[in-house]
């Protein structure tokens, strides 16, 4: 019997244009919690997909209990008792919790589904591991926390003893994260082996026994967490020393720039109110952060503010001007900038060149067109300027196809374009999503510089750390309502977590109305 339950030896996996995994070795002991650490794009998910049979490696072998195994698809992985909780849950929205758990391993008798035994087993597992679920609730009606518990029970139901958690904490509140950590410890105590994929260092320090660090597709090393510190891990992950502190001066809030008054926004298809009676003001020279768990109305709020979605009721003012029913173009022309949540969906036209993308918001200005004809000389000059000023790296300068640029540089291009519009108000949604630490530092600095130049910044992010370090004031959104308004200086993650989960709320005054009148 080998010391390791799972060994991935010298795994290499290529995609066109990149080597996602380059000679990576990962060994998992029985009963340990093994963290897999790396930045976005380091190859963590690819490696796990190889283990789970979704990809076939070009080189390398996988061993289970010392014997070489061939994993061609997730079913093979399942037979080897390997289970995975994916970052984006794989659940059927309109099925009940129980149906989702038994999906694929249903018991039948005379062609009829037998759920009785399954239900008993689910309830046993739920009680044993303190994983509370309602077996009859539909997935679409339950929160992400419970959805994750369903995914975990799904693995246990299949008697998996090698459990992979892919970025499991991204969607959870601080309290839920603590609970999950406890559950993981219980599993390990029982002899199950856990692979825990993350880029959050404090979680590794809290729960993992060993950690393997990946960087740009290569394995940097494996070490015992007991011997590691957050700083050494960060350095291994990024390849250089990192500062986690965001340097900023005290905000000097001036006049109200963005005023939201009794805003109600109906959901796209359902008509249900996704934003319910929201009031707030962003002053020039301050950063207001909106914290909240994914899916609590952030997208609808942003789309209503930027004109991508109609407002059901209420008002939005830009300075003195009512922009409630203004078009996107009118808002742009009033110097409202928007760093969108999804850079590929909204932020860029990937098949356009970098230069063309850098004028996406103002190509129709007289500077860039004459009698309906684009002035490419000006457009390229503008691109060269922004490339130099914002350090955007691309293969062929302004002519580079945006699709071929790295995510960090794509994001820098968007930030450059939006800041170049000389915004009075900037709505920044997840501005550093999926970026490496260096790019994050840089974009944070730019946002603070914009604030200091008098811009009113509304920051919406799912990363609580980002909201806490950048904001001057923090609003917490829960189920479409602002449930708390706290000074960022005195806010703690625990306090915000309680608001985010809806466990507690402040009594919100409607001061905004008073101030505008």
């Amino acid at each position: 019997m080998s010391e390791y339950v799972i060994e991935m030896l010298n795994i290499t996996k290529r995609f066109p244009g990149i080597i996602a995994n380059d000679d990576i070795t990962l060994q998992l002991k029985q009963g340990e919690i093994h963290a897999l650490l790396g930045e976005n794009g380091a190859g963590k998910s690819t490696l796990m997909s190889v283990l789970f049979g979704l990809y076939q490696p070009e080189a390398g072998v996988i061993k289970k209990d010392g014997e070489v195994v061939q994993i061609n698809d997730p079913n093979d992985a399942n037979h080897l008792h390997i289970g995975m909780v994916h970052q984006h849950f794989k659940l059927v929205e309109i099925f009940s919790v129980l149906d989702n758990i038994i999906l694929g391993v249903e018991q039948t008798k005379n062609c009829l589904l037998q759920k009785k035994d399954a239900r008993r087993k689910v309830m046993e597992l739920s009680a044993k591991y303190n994983l509370q679920v309602d077996p009859d609730a539909l997935i679409e009606d339950i929160g992400v926390g419970m959805q994750q518990r369903v995914e975990i029970i799904k693995m246990l139901f299949r008697d998996n003893d090698i459990l992979i958690f892919d970025e499991p904490t991204a969607v959870l509140t601080p309290q839920e994260i603590d609970e999950l950590m406890q559950i993981m410890r219980n599993f390990a105590k029982e002899g199950k082996s856990i692979l825990f994929i993350t880029h959050k260092l404090n979680e590794i320090m809290a729960v993992a026994d060993r950690v393997t660090v990946l960087r740009k597709g290569k394995c940097v090393g494996t070490l015992d967490v007991a011997d590691a510190t957050i700083d050494t891990l960060a350095e291994m992950m990024v390849g250089r020393k990192v500062s986690f502190e965001v340097q900023k001066s005290v905000a000097r809030a001036k006049q109200a720039m963005l005023t939201v008054q009794n805003l109600i926004v109906a959901g796209k298809n359902t008509g249900k109110h996704k934003i319910n009676n929201v009031n707030f003001i962003v002053h020039s020279g301050e950063i207001i952060g909106i914290a909240g768990i994914d899916g609590n109305g952030q997208t609808e709020l942003v789309h209503a503010l930027t004109g991508l979605m109609p407002v059901t009721k209420g008002h939005i003012y830009l300075g003195e001007r009512d922009i409630t029913s203004a078009t996107v173009r009118e808002r742009n022309d009033l110097h409202l900038s928007h760093i969108p949540e999804d850079r590929h969906k909204h932020g860029l036209i990937l098949d356009y060149s970098l230069a063309e993308n850098l004028v996406l918001k103002n190509y129709y200005y007289p500077k860039y067109q004459r009698n309906g004809f684009l002035r490419f000389d000006e457009i390229y000059r503008h691109a060269d300027e922004l490339i130099a000023k914002y350090d955007i790296r691309s293969g062929q300068g302004g002519a580079t196809r945006t699709r071929s640029m790295s995510g960090g540089n794509q994001q820098k291009a968007i930030v450059a374009r939006e800041l170049d519009l000389d915004p009075d108000v900037m709505i920044a949604v997840q501005p550093t999503r999926g970026l490496d630490v260096g790019a994050i530092e840089y974009i944070h600095k730019q946002i603070i510089a914009a604030r200091d130049a008098g811009c009113a910044v509304l920051l919406i992010s799912l990363e609580l750390d980002e909201v806490m370090s950048l904001s001057d004031r923090i609003l917490v959104i829960h189920e479409g309502e602002i449930v708390a308004d706290v000074d960022a200086k005195y806010a703690t993650a625990q306090e915000l977590g309680l608001y985010m989960s809806g466990a507690s709320r402040q009594h919100m005054t409607t001061e905004c109305e008073v101030e505008v009148q």
């Binding site: 080597i19 740009k216 930027t306 909204h346 036209i349 098949d351 190509y363």
Partner: protein, 402 residues
């Protein structure tokens, strides 16, 4: 920026070599079909397909004559593709364009340039309808335009049947009631000018239609590459969400793009039926010309300049195919020719493969430190349903890290 031309020309090289490779494969399959259908005359037939078009000026005139409407239909489909729409209604727009031109020419006795204007307007209106349905009600333009193909065909039949002045027997002593009057009899001023080319090439078929088509292709290229309007249209085609985010009126652009696309196909119909060599026959099936615009556009990867060449090529093959008689029957010729044409339109698929091979080589050479989070760069630039359908999308696996 001189450097950037390098990137663009690599892309261009891939496009062109993909098109040539597709043509070669199409021809090989055509040859195989010839051998299957009539082995004795296969090689001779193949030679005829390849050279007939340039054997005599008369044949060349026929190639140019047919290429004009084909080019315009190809431009119509290509223009819609560029905006991310699939105009499968080109045949209907072509038909209504023909009807508009003939009504102007025969019933209203107007000169050819006004008749062409009628054709353009009719095509534009018909093309805009699926665009409006898409923009306002989010109805897929493929469904609406297919339905409008049939609606148009029957409506035009009905209209011509009830317009005695349009029919052949109104103008000349004959009993022929199922086709429109010959233009040379009804209104010679409506026939497209021949600019002495008929004497030069010894053919009655040739007229200025081909120059109109080439001119339109150049104008379209300029619009797409150089103007604000083209920038907005392509933005909508490549990424509708991002263009909305940028404040571009996507709905207006969908309607405009479909309208322009329809106008091009309508002009094609006008050009063909105003050449004075054919009469519009009451139809029982949809005209093939509009549909042939699809392979023309695909073979050219929707590039307006490429459409000029792909339309000439396909017209050339068609003329060559006609020379296969009498050793091959008409139906078999159609099969052979359409096999060549449709396989040629696989240029897109080829483009994917070629750029993949190209990329793999460059990876080995450069060890790829670049673009770790970006998607694989070999994703097709071609927007629209057809492109996505033909390409092996499953091969383009993305890393699922956010």
């Amino acid at each position: 920026m001189k450097k950037n031309r390098g990137n663009r020309s690599t892309q261009g090289l891939i496009s062109i070599s993909a098109s040539l490779l597709s043509i070669a494969i199409g021809l090989l399959v055509g040859l195989a079909l010839l051998f299957i259908l009539n082995p004795d005359h296969a090689l001779d037939g193949f030679r005829k397909i390849l050279v007939t078009g340039v054997l005599t000026t008369e044949k060349l005139a026929k190639v140019l004559y047919q290429a004009a409407p084909l080019m315009l239909c190809g431009l119509s489909v290509a223009f819609a593709f560029k905006t991310g729409l699939f105009n499968i209604g080109a045949t209907g727009q072509y038909t209504i364009g023909a009807f508009g031109a003939l009504t102007a020419g025969i019933a209203l006795q107007l000169p050819w340039y006004v008749a062409l204007l009628f054709a353009i307007v009719c095509g534009a209106v018909l093309g805009a309808i699926p665009g409006i349905c898409k923009a306002l009600f989010n109805v897929n333009e493929v469904i609406t335009s297919i339905m409008f193909n049939w609606i148009t065909m029957y409506a035009v039949n009905l209209a011509i049947n009830n317009m005695p002045i349009m029919l052949s027997n109104f103008w000349a002593k004959s009993t022929i009631k199922d086709r429109t009057a010959s233009l040379s009899v009804a209104n010679p001023s409506a026939v497209l000018p021949k600019a002495n080319l008929d004497v030069l090439m010894n053919s009655n078929y040739i007229n200025i239609g081909i120059f109109i088509a080439i001119g339109v292709a150049i104008i379209m290229w300029v619009i797409l590459q150089k103007t604000v309007f083209g920038y907005e249209l392509k933005a909508c085609g490549y990424n509708r969400h991002a263009s909305q985010y940028a404040g571009i009126n996507a709905k207006r652009n969908i309607v405009l793009s479909m309208g322009i696309s329809g106008a091009l196909a309508g002009l094609g119909g006008g050009v063909y039926y105003l050449s004075g060599t054919g009469q519009y026959t009451l139809l029982k099936a949809l005209l093939g010309m509009g549909f042939n615009g699809i392979p023309v556009a695909l073979l050219a990867s929707s590039n307006p300049m490429g459409v000029i060449f792909s339309a000439l090529f396909i017209s050339y093959i068609m003329v060559g195919g006609d020379a296969l008689q009498p050793h091959f029957i008409k139906e078999n010729i159609d099969i052979i020719i359409s096999a060549i044409i449709y396989l040629s339109a696989f240029a897109l698929l080829m483009k994917g493969w070629i750029s993949k091979i190209f990329l793999r080589n460059s990876v080995d050479n450069a060890n790829a430190e670049i673009a770790f989070e970006s998607e694989p760069v070999d994703k097709p630039a071609q927007p629209g349903g057809v492109g996505e359908g033909i390409l092996p999308a499953a091969d383009v696996k993305k890393e699922e890290e956010v």
